[in-house]
């Protein structure tokens, strides 16, 4: 498994999540995630996103099934990028929608501490229906901003 075990707890925080896809013509597409679920046993990420944000990305994944997920902690800017093959996508379950509601609340509350508007962000991101996109991470990169950033995490650091 490539994802370090200490990431399990890290990923449970209300981090900022974004997905990225690329078309076969190499056109990239960012997708706002409204929560993720991570299975450390399989390194499979289930990423939730509003369908309206994910439509183009999903099309990309049909022709180029590679996806990246970036997750950043808002106070310390600690961040990682997980890359791997796209597995599948589907509609979110009611439970997963509920999870996203909860995540967004925590996420926007954190943003409010920085002087932003929690409701502003909520209205920007909360757009049902939601989809779940699954991929398996086979690479993990350190995204924390510093010189020499982006380095792939040594598997021995797990």
């Amino acid at each position: 498994m490539v994802v370090p075990s200490r990431h399990v707890d890290f990923l449970k925080q209300p981090l900022s999540f974004w997905l990225a896809t690329a078309s076969k013509d190499r056109i990239p597409e960012p997708i706002k995630c409204t929560g993720i679920a991570f299975d450390p046993l399989t390194d499979i990420f289930t990423c939730f996103a509003p369908l309206k944000f994910a439509t183009k990305g999903i099309k990309h994944l049909q022709e180029n099934p590679v996806i990246s997920l970036v997750s950043v902690e808002l106070h310390t800017y600690e961040g990682y990028q997980y890359k791997g093959p796209y597995l599948s996508h589907r509609d979110c379950t009611a439970h997963e929608v509920e999870f996203q509601v909860q995540y967004l609340k925590e996420f926007t509350d954190t943003l409010a501490l920085f002087g932003y508007s929690a409701s502003g962000f909520h209205n920007a991101y909360f757009h049902p229906p939601f989809v779940a996109i699954l991929f398996q991470a086979n690479q993990v990169f350190d995204q924390s901003p510093k010189n020499g950033t982006g380095g792939e995490l040594d598997k021995r650091q797990l």
């Binding site: 310390t76 800017y77 002087g115 924390s144 901003p145």
Partner: protein, 433 residues
């Protein structure tokens, strides 16, 4: 189509509004007023036009090293006088580089920099204005590329100053700079006028004194000449040649006196117009004083005053001959004038490192405290007749003080009506000797 027209209409209205603002601002800026009034007026206009709650104007010092808050709007008054070095903070950097800065989202950006650098403790320079500003714009006000002032506006809200506001403020920057410069000139001109007026008043007083001396103090000796010539004529007719001989002696004395007065007058008028040129040379003190005492030998003898010199043969000083001679002439003639018959005058000199102290101690009538306190002042000067009604112009001591200062020396006087007067002079010694 109608959306485009709407946009055009709105742009036109905005342009009109800006023109109106410029017109208003120009009118205000052209009014002549002192610097503090000008700065407050500028901030008030900007606050009204831009709805800015917090703004400052800072002025650089002469060395362009530090900015000082001269005017503020929206802060409490303690911010006036606060300083920031050029190059420090958003305001200082804008001033140093003479370029405007417009930042927003400041707190997050500061947090980001602080977090990612992790170089030791977070050591943030206290901002000059709001501690939690989110938006800040700093505009340097330049005139002929010279930094006249810096205008800073800030807010706790995001995105308060958009590009259009920024451009507008930059457009106003130059006329603002020129206007502030005009006020500074106005203030400094007022200051110069005050100084010139004071100088003119001083010169006026000098001129008044001059005329007063000419009209009063010199008339006396001249009138006495008239009496003397009448006496000459009378004694001549009578054939009393001995009396004529004694008259000649009196004339001699009177002429000496008059000469002395005129020399003082000339010296004084020269000193008032800064016409005195000092030439410093080595002077042998004993000989110097001796020669001056000899000028007054007739008066000394006629009043039987005992004059003694206690000055070392080798003692030399560095001084200007002419002005020092005036000092001693006046002091010695004063001593003689105010010492009664058979009194004494002792002139002594002592050294102390590289100065020489000369003392003139007489057994004269002395002065009371009131007289002593106004001794060297032109205003307080009223001529005093000597013990045998000798006349003076009252300029003598004023000159003495001025000339002692020109010779890099000092004078002090002690006196009382019982023991007499002691004048102490301090002069630079010729240490090369």
């Amino acid at each position: 189509m109608s959306v485009e027209v709407e946009n055009l209409v709105s742009q036109l209205e905005e342009a009109n509004r800006k023109m109106e603002t410029i017109r208003k601002v120009s009118f205000e800026l052209n009014r002549l007023m002192t610097l503090p009034e000008k700065l407050h007026s500028i901030l008030a206009i900007l606050s009204e036009q831009f709805g800015v709650a917090n703004s400052l104007i800072l002025i650089p010092d002469q060395n362009n090293s530090v900015l000082t808050v001269f005017a503020s709007h929206g802060y409490d008054t303690s911010i006036i006088g606060r300083q920031v070095p050029l190059g420090q903070g958003i305001v200082g950097l804008s001033a140093q580089r003479k370029k405007h800065i417009n930042l927003t989202g400041i707190r997050r950006k500061q947090h980001y920099l602080a977090t990612v650098s992790k170089e030791g403790d977070l050591d943030i320079v206290s901002p000059i204005g709001l501690p939690d500003a989110e938006s800040q714009v700093a505009i340097p006000l330049l005139s002929n590329d010279e930094l006249v002032a810096v205008l800073m506006a800030e807010s706790r809200n995001f995105c308060v100053f958009d590009k259009a506001d920024e451009s507008f403020l930059i457009t106003l920057a130059q006329p603002l700079a020129v206007s502030i410069q005009n006020s500074m000139l106005y203030d400094s001109m007022e200051e110069k006028i005050r100084e010139r007026t004071a100088e003119l008043q001083r010169l006026n007083r000098t001129k008044d004194k001059f005329f007063s001396i000419i009209s009063h103090d010199l008339r006396g000796p001249v009138t006495s000449f008239q009496s003397l010539t009448r006496l000459f004529s009378h004694y001549n007719k009578q054939g009393e040649s001995e009396k004529i001989e004694s008259l000649c002696t009196m004339v001699d004395q009177s002429v000496d006196n008059l000469n002395h007065l005129l020399e003082n007058l000339l010296d004084w008028s020269l000193s008032q117009t800064n016409g005195i040129q000092c030439f410093f040379e080595r002077i042998s003190l004993k000989d110097f004083i001796q020669r001056i005492v000899e000028i007054y030998q007739v008066n000394i003898s006629s009043k039987e005053i005992d004059v003694r010199l206690v000055v070392g043969e080798d003692l030399q000083i560095i001084a200007d001959h002419h002005t020092l001679a005036t000092v001693f002439r006046n002091l010695i003639s004063n001593s003689i004038k105010f010492t009664p018959r058979r009194g004494s005058l002792v002139i002594s000199a002592a050294t102390n490192d590289d100065i020489v102290l000369v003392q003139l101690k007489d057994t004269g009538v002395g002065m009371d405290c009131a007289r002593l306190s106004t001794l060297f002042q032109l205003q307080g000067q009223r001529t005093t007749s000597g013990t045998e009604k000798e006349k003076g112009t009252g300029l003598g001591l004023v000159l003495v003080k001025e000339f002692m200062e020109l010779n890099r020396g000092k004078i002090s006087v002690e006196s009382d009506p019982v023991t007499g007067t002691t004048v102490t002079l301090q002069l630079p010694r010729d240490v090369n000797r």
